[in-house]
Amino acid sequence: MASMQSQAQYVLRTVEERGVRFVQLWFTDVLGRHKAFHVTPAELEDALDQGMTFDGSAIDGFSRTTESDLLARPDLTTFQLLPWHEPGAGVARVFCDIVNIDGTPFEGCPRQRLRHVLDDARAQGFTFFVAPEVEYFYLADLDPSRGPVPLDHGSYFDLLADDTASQLRRRTVLTLEEMGIGVEHAQHEDAPGQHEIDLRYTDALTMADTMMTVRHVVKELARQAGVAASFMPKPFVGVQGSGLHTHLSLWRDERNAFIGEHTYGLSDLAEKFIAGLVRHAPEITAITNQWVNSYKRLVPGGEAPVGAAWARYDTDALVRVPSVKPGRIDSTRVEYRSPDPAANPYLAFAVVLAAGLRGVMGNYALPAEGERTAALPQSLAQAVDLMENSSLMKETLGSHLVEWFLRNKRAEWEAYRGQVTPFELERYLPLL
């Protein structure tokens, strides 16, 4: 059975045997940006034992008024060699939880926030599975001055001649598989240069870790090929953006609790969960779509939701109930379609679960299929206001996270508000 000691021994022996030169201790700030310490094997034992002390005031969302010292404590079950480094000069990674110096969970740590929500769900007998579809663009480079240039000119499901982008996507999938990340399938998406990797379901914490890994691997392999990848939600005007359609299911007593006798084979519980998602969607959107640019994707006609509604077939719906293949009843699930891949996956999965569970606990009635009960926020400013008034968000994320997030996002909006855009110049300069 797994004890901390044997896990640590496993990590230390593997580092020794495989010639690992660096271990990266991974964590994320509140916005889901990837952070890491790099430790040498000589320092590793201490780091595993006691965690790494660092000054949190330099990290977005970690600063506090009183004291800023925090500990990054490795979660040894996540130790993994990074396969693209050369043998003999290996690099491994391990995810960390951020704790206060006294060992209590740090309230600004997104990973532990998700744990907290998952623990609540577990106390009610639920386990929560997620399977996201990750969309992104391969671009020639990331130079903002000349605008993004897509790496290919394919479209939905196009099988192109073996170009750089297809090769990259294939290498990425193989690398992910090598790291034990299950990929259901990968394909060319609708827009030029746009690709999609659909991940096999796991529990939400593992999947949030996986999302961090996927973003890193996609970008790293693109960089190695001399090109670039971006998870920016809407890099091109008039072309659909990149989403993170997320398939969700709740299990209880090792059974899929979404399976039932109601319409589309859903259970009463599934309907309440959907009702919770639909009702609370506006207030959680600040987390699932956290950038100014996110709201350029959530526009009519972009195959992205603009209102809170559920449906089976409508690709503009916020919540979709996918068809289940005959004999595959266990794959009964709902798909939440507003998130984008630039969200913080820990917080996004936490708020989505909390919204659904609120519907279950509160016995929410499911609106009629296709009925739009509310609009989704049209801008980051609106989303932030909705978040501020949400008791669900405060309970789910805690006041530290909410307050910091509101402050940070309002500052982003203020910076954006003062911009004069090409749209305005082209339209108004000759006219006014």
Binding site: M1, A2, S3, Q7, Q9, Y10, V11, R13, T14, E16, E17, R18, L76, T77, T78, F79, Q80, L81, P83, L118, R122, T127, F128, F129, E177, E178, M179, G180, I181, G182, R200, Y201, T202, D203, A204, L205, T206, W251, E254
Partner: protein, 231 residues
């Protein structure tokens, strides 16, 4: 010079066989405790030690065999006794006849650990804790697993799951059993955690060897070659 044949009396089945498998030591099985029969089995370089299952023999015969093995010119060491708990009292004043003992019901990993430990103390350096199964090789001391000579990058839980399955080949385990035997600590996925890890392991084993972990429909998983149970 190393010797890796250990005498095993009077049979080598169940957990005893598995302990030998895990240890990577080959047993020379003698069905009776008669010395001449045992001598016929002895390799040129002698036995590396003996595992004597006193629970499966008349107790006096087991003790007499121990004494004879000790008194030989080339003594057999270590001698590990397997006992029923009610035989414990009979060991009094016979402590010189054996080096270690294990009380039943026998646990594979305890037996394997003691066997390895005693062999090593007796100077048998080559006894590495190792599981071999076809192209799969797991070194339990360095925590490294390789398939067809290719080293696998496993996370800790993947390693532990593979080790558990490979230690118990051809046995079907339910997800719940695997959870309690391999995890037994905080995890978020319920029994589906097992499915997720099996999928990861299969991906890391590669297409050619993914079949080493069989899905036994509506039951669980089994390690080994496919057979009629599979769908």
């Amino acid at each position: 010079m190393t010797i890796d044949v250990v005498l095993c009396v009077p049979s080598c089945e169940g957990p005893v066989r598995k302990a030998f498998d895990v240890t990577g030591v080959s047993p020379a099985v003698a069905a009776s405790a008669r010395l001449n029969e045992i001598a016929a089995l002895e390799p040129a370089k002698g036995f590396a030690g003996a595992v004597i299952n006193a629970a499966a023999l008349p107790f006096s015969e087991a003790m007499s065999l121990c004494r004879q093995l000790r008194q030989r010119e080339r003594a057999v060491e270590p001698i590990i006794l397997l006992l029923d708990h009610y035989q414990l009292d009979d060991l009094t004043f016979r402590e010189d006849l054996f080096d270690d003992f294990v009380v039943g019901p026998f646990d594979v990993s305890e037996l394997a650990t003691r066997l390895r430990h005693r062999l090593r103390r007796a100077g048998n350096e080559s006894v590495a804790a190792r599981i071999e199964h076809g192209e799969l090789s797991m070194n339990l001391e360095t925590y490294q697993a390789s398939i067809a000579g290719r080293v696998m990058d496993l996370t800790y839980m993947e390693y532990e799951l593979l080790r558990f399955l490979a230690t118990n080949p051809n046995r079907v385990f339910t997800r719940q059993t695997l959870l309690s035997r391999v995890w037994g600590y905080e995890y978020y996925g319920g029994a589906r955690t097992v499915d997720v890890h099996v999928r990861r392991l299969r991906a890391k084993l590669g297409e050619e060897y993914a079949h080493l972990i069989q899905t036994v429909r509506s039951v669980g998983y089994r390690f080994g070659a496919p057979d009629e149970y599979d769908v």
